[in-house]
């Protein structure tokens, strides 16, 4: 075996190295230094993230099972940055007493799922993809159940594990149909086999694949698990689920669409996705309006955000793909800012409803400010990054030029207004409403503060610094080969 092939997957290897170091630390270090594990992991991961920004070698390895190109490199870096923020936010929480014996597992499982997501993005063979999918899904169920004493945490884990298994099964069924049609599981070979085919079986296979990934992305109608799991899971895990897990699913879906199904009977998947997007955006929004628990609220808000992310897939062009990656990047920062604030407040007071936030600005101006930035960015208000990402994803979709997509964008735009309403409700609670028994002035930990500062800077700067989007448009050319044939 040619071991130099591992050099073509530097990010995965690096991640495994981080995992091993954390594992060794957890296993062999004495009990008294265990409390330093969160800091150790975070610093290690920060170094790893920084190193990953060095441009890597491009090519495919292991007989074409894995491919590394600029696009996957950028996607993984986006996920790395998000992961780093999650680690910073979680550091204080994992040092609490009830986490004492399970601290190491938390980080190991977290790193392993990220490894699975990397495989999903880089895989060019469906078997490897499924391995990645499973690695990325099942440990999250353990993570969701981490607060053993809380009933909701168990419920979340159970719901997650059932839906994860169910969606994997559906996905596998779809893949087996694809195998039946094409006789291969390599992306490239499938793509050449199915170009121009109009078999019904292919449409069914496509539907199953979309459904399978749709569970991970919590697209409507595969979204039912989302709210309960988000609410029940520990906030750090919820943040991870809503941002990293969703981002990875979106990226790998983009890759599959671009490399495999993009050319196949394109109207079939476009119309399926079309309906799913409308449903996702609208239903996510309508349910979010009625939520009082902020974690549930962000669950529905992130459902509707997933709909916007999918606009980049339906665009089926490089501009749309770049916009989608950009959207996920911005979404990482905005959503993690919101979860950072929620986690900080929940850790110290246990309060998570909108009404608890009444008058927060008086007592905790910086927390409220960060939360406001997050809400404005999610709602697409300039000059924050969310405005740019929304605009670009709409531009990407409209580039197709079809009237149907314009109508879709119009629906999405009307939904932005609805979403703005509920995002403003949170802002209103913090800034406008008064409450005599508002949450007292809190002292956030260093990690939480650092995470919030990173998120706030990201929200303000990512939009204004145009170089990020510009370079993303260059990277996506690497995976757009199929879309460009349409």
């Amino acid at each position: 075996m040619d071991y130099s092939q591992f050099l073509l997957m530097p990010q995965e290897v690096g991640l495994l190295l981080v995992f091993l170091l954390v594992f060794i630390y957890d296993t062999f270090m004495p009990q008294r230094s265990q409390r330093a594990l969160p800091v150790f992991t975070t610093v290690l991961f920060a170094i790893y993230t920084a190193i990953c920004f060095v441009p890597c070698e491009v090519g495919s390895a292991f007989a074409g099972m894995i491919e590394t190109n600029q696009a996957t490199w950028a996607m993984k870096n986006i996920l790395n940055v998000g992961m780093l923020i999650v680690l910073m936010q979680a550091a204080k929480w994992t040092n609490e007493e009830f986490m004492r014996v399970r601290r190491g597992e938390f980080y190991e499982l977290l790193l392993l799922t990220l490894f699975g997501m990397f495989l999903m993005i880089s895989a060019r063979h469906f078997l490897l993809f499924v391995i990645g999918l499973e690695t990325a899904s099942l440990p999250i169920a353990c993570l969701a159940a981490f607060e053993k004493k809380r009933y909701e945490s168990h419920e979340a884990a159970a719901k997650y594990v059932f839906t994860a298994i169910f969606s994997s099964a559906i996905f596998l069924l779809g893949i087996s149909f694809v195998y039946g049609i094409a006789g291969t599981l390599y992306y490239n070979d499938i793509a050449t086999m199915i170009i121009g085919q109009k078999s019904t079986l292919l449409v069914v296979a496509l539907a199953f694949v979309i459904a399978g990934v749709g569970f991970k992305l919590s697209l409507v109608p595969f979204h039912q698990w989302t709210a309960d799991v988000y609410q029940g899971a520990p906030t750090a895990v919820t943040a991870y689920l809503s941002v990293i897990s969703k981002g990875a699913a979106a990226f790998s879906f983009l890759v599959i669409m671009a490399q495999v199904f993009g050319a196949a009977y394109s109207t079939a998947w476009e119309w399926m996705l079309y309906a799913v997007i409308i449903l996702t955006i609208t239903i996510g929004n309508l349910f979010a309006m009625r939520q009082h628990n902020l974690k549930r609220f962000l669950a529905f808000s992130s459902i509707s955000q997933a709909g916007y992310i999918m606009l980049g897939v339906i665009a089926a062009n490089t501009l749309g793909m770049a916009s989608m990656m950009y959207y996920v990047l911005v979404y990482v920062f905005s959503n993690l800012a919101a979860f950072g604030v929620i986690a900080a407040i929940e850790r110290q007071t246990g309060k998570t409803t909108t009404d608890d936030y009444n008058g927060l600005f008086k007592t905790n101006p910086w927390l409220s400010f960060t939360m406001m930035l997050a809400m404005f960015s999610l709602g697409g208000i300039p000059p924050f990054a969310g405005f740019f990402s929304k605009f670009f994803i709409f531009v990407g979709a409209c580039k197709t030029g079809s009237v149907a997509v314009y109508v879709l964008v119009l629906i999405a735009l009307v939904n932005t207004i609805i979403s703005l309403y509920y995002y403003l409700l949170v802002v209103k609670a913090m800034f406008i409403r008064q409450d005599d028994c508002a949450i007292p002035t809190l002292k956030s930990s260093c990690g939480e503060r650092a995470a919030m500062i990173v998120c706030a800077l990201g929200i303000i700067l990512i939009g204004l610094a145009s170089c990020i989007y510009t370079s993303l448009t260059e990277y996506t050319a690497a995976i757009a080969n199929i879309f460009s044939q349409i």
Binding site: I381, F394, V395, L413, V414, T416
Partner: protein, 504 residues
């Protein structure tokens, strides 16, 4: 370099002011005021200098459509640039905004609570307003437009009065709803901006290419026009305006009615009509009807209101309707009148709201049934109110007369029945305006004193005098020397009118 162009400083100065305010201590009200006044004064000075530059350029025979042009690439993949440039209309709008910002700072001299946060949002809003007027790139323009909208939510929500939560949410959602349509229109225009596929966001280039297909114009024009029309308080999308104005704090009402609503009118002609002249010709009459309704309906509604701010808000609907009405007449005279009306209405309404805020701050009521005899109690404010009222009903020598005369002369130029009927209907609003203005003046200023406690109230303090005096002088200057402004404005409409003629 980007800093070579004087226009960029209209965005940078408010941002610097923001930074300065952020450094201030929350308790140090004097420092906060000092920073705010400095920032606003620098803006006024810049605006005056810009007028001089513009006059010099035109005097030197520079007949280009926009002066001080420069482009800075921002988002290369989409050809989005920070494109700057001004013509006569933008110059006077910038001048207007600068004055309103300055007087707004004085009008919120004693703002409470959280003065620092108030001025932070206030200057963020100004950044949006100035950015909108200096940029000629669709994306940048739209971005600044939305930057100007969102601070309203918190400004009204935190510092407002009355039913402020409802008003703030309604205003924000309606304006953002309009801008959602606008965004789609802009994307649509962008993808049809050039026949050869080199899409551009630059307004001048799009107008020159004239490549938006007629079938697309018919869809995009209504979206763009309604998008801006919501902000211009066009019937039936005006309902945010009375509630919003009534709940907003004084300076915000001033800035909103004085400047923000002008963004609507400006956008309507700069983007909707200029870039899609064919659809403007076809669909224009529909919107003309709506604006005609705005004018008359707003005026009648003002007649039956008893809350001072509601009276003025409906009066704004009527006057802003006149702006859009004049723009839709598609000739140079009427469009010039529209800009004069924007200036006139901006100053006059700002004056009104400033005075109402000052009266309300003393009497703690805005209901005209509970007040009377203010002329004896606070003669300075009373006289100011009368002047504002006379400007509003179009007394010669003040700004309202000039603007309305120009508009109705221009719109009567149309020989056909449709336009003339609407002109007459629109002109009738002048009479209705006189009814509600004189009713308020008679009751509020010269009626019997309703509440004995009011006798103890004081007249304007120095900061209030500055705010009102500046506005009154401006109203009188426009009324007495309209030619100065007409000369700046009127050439800017030639390209629009030409485009409209060619598209017929």
């Amino acid at each position: 370099m980007i800093f070579d162009n004087i226009l960029i400083y209209f965005a940078i100065v408010p941002l610097l002011t923001l930074g300065g305010l952020a450094l201030c201590n929350n308790k140090g009200i004097k420092a906060i005021r000092a920073v705010a006044v400095t920032g606003a004064s620098v803006l006024v000075a810049l605006a005056l200098y810009l007028v001089k530059l513009f006059l010099d350029a035109r005097g030197a025979g520079d007949t280009s459509e926009m002066i001080l042009r420069s482009d800075y690439m921002w988002y290369a993949p989409l050809n989005i640039k920070l494109a700057l440039g001004v013509d006569g209309v933008s110059v006077v709008m910038i001048l207007l905004s600068a004055f309103i910002v300055l007087t707004g700072v004085f009008a919120s001299w004693k703002i409470n609570p959280l003065p620092k946060q108030f001025f932070l949002w206030f200057f963020l809003l100004s950044t949006g307003v100035f950015g909108f007027f200096i940029s000629i790139d669709l994306f940048t323009m739209f971005m600044f437009y939305e930057v100007a909208l969102i601070p309203m939510y918190l400004l009204i929500g935190i510092w407002g009065s009355g039913n402020k939560n409802y008003s703030a949410m309604k205003l924000t959602l309606m304006l953002m709803g309009g801008s959602a349509f606008l965004m789609l229109a802009l994307i649509g225009i962008y993808f049809h901006s050039a026949a050869d596929g080199n899409y551009t966001m630059n307004i001048l280039e799009i107008a020159k290419n004239n490549a938006v297909p007629q079938s697309w114009q018919l869809y995009l024009f209504p979206m763009a026009f309604v998008g801006f029309g919501v902000l211009g308080a066009m019937f039936p999308f005006h309902t945010w305006s009375p509630d919003g104005h009534a709940s907003a704090p004084t300076a915000v009402s001033m800035l909103h009615a004085g400047v923000l609503m002008k963004l609507g009118g400006y956008g309507c002609f700069r983007i909707a009509i200029y870039l899609m002249p064919y659809a403007a010709n076809v669909i224009g009459p529909v919107f003309l009807t709506l604006t005609g309704i705005s004018i008359v309906y707003g005026a009648f509604s003002a007649c039956v209101q008893t809350d001072l701010k509601y009276i003025n808000a409906y009066s704004s609907v009527s006057h802003c309707g006149m702006v859009l009405f004049a723009i839709l007449m598609f000739n140079q005279t009427a469009m010039t009148g529209a800009v004069l009306q924007m200036l006139s209405h901006g100053l006059m309404t700002a004056l009104f709201f400033a005075l109402i805020g000052m009266i309300y701050g003393r009497t703690h009521t805005r209901d005209i049934r509970e007040m009377g005899g203010m002329m004896q109690i606070m003669p300075y404010l009373g006289v100011g109110y009368v002047i504002a009222g006379l400007a509003s009903l179009g007394l010669p020598g003040l700004s309202g007369f000039v603007a309305e005369m120009t508009i109705f002369f221009g719109s009567f130029e149309h020989p056909d029945m449709f336009h003339r009927v609407f002109t007459i209907a629109g002109a009738s609003s002048i009479v209705i305006t006189a009814v509600y203005i004189l009713r308020v003046v008679g009751k509020l200023l010269f009626g019997a004193v309703q509440n004995e406690h009011h006798r103890e109230l004081t007249d304007a303090s120095w900061d209030e005098r500055v705010a009102t005096a500046v506005l009154i002088v401006c109203v009188a200057i426009i009324g007495c020397f309209p030619n100065f402004f007409v000369n700046i404005i009127t050439d800017s409409f030639l390209p629009v009118v030409d485009a409209l003629k060619n598209a017929m």
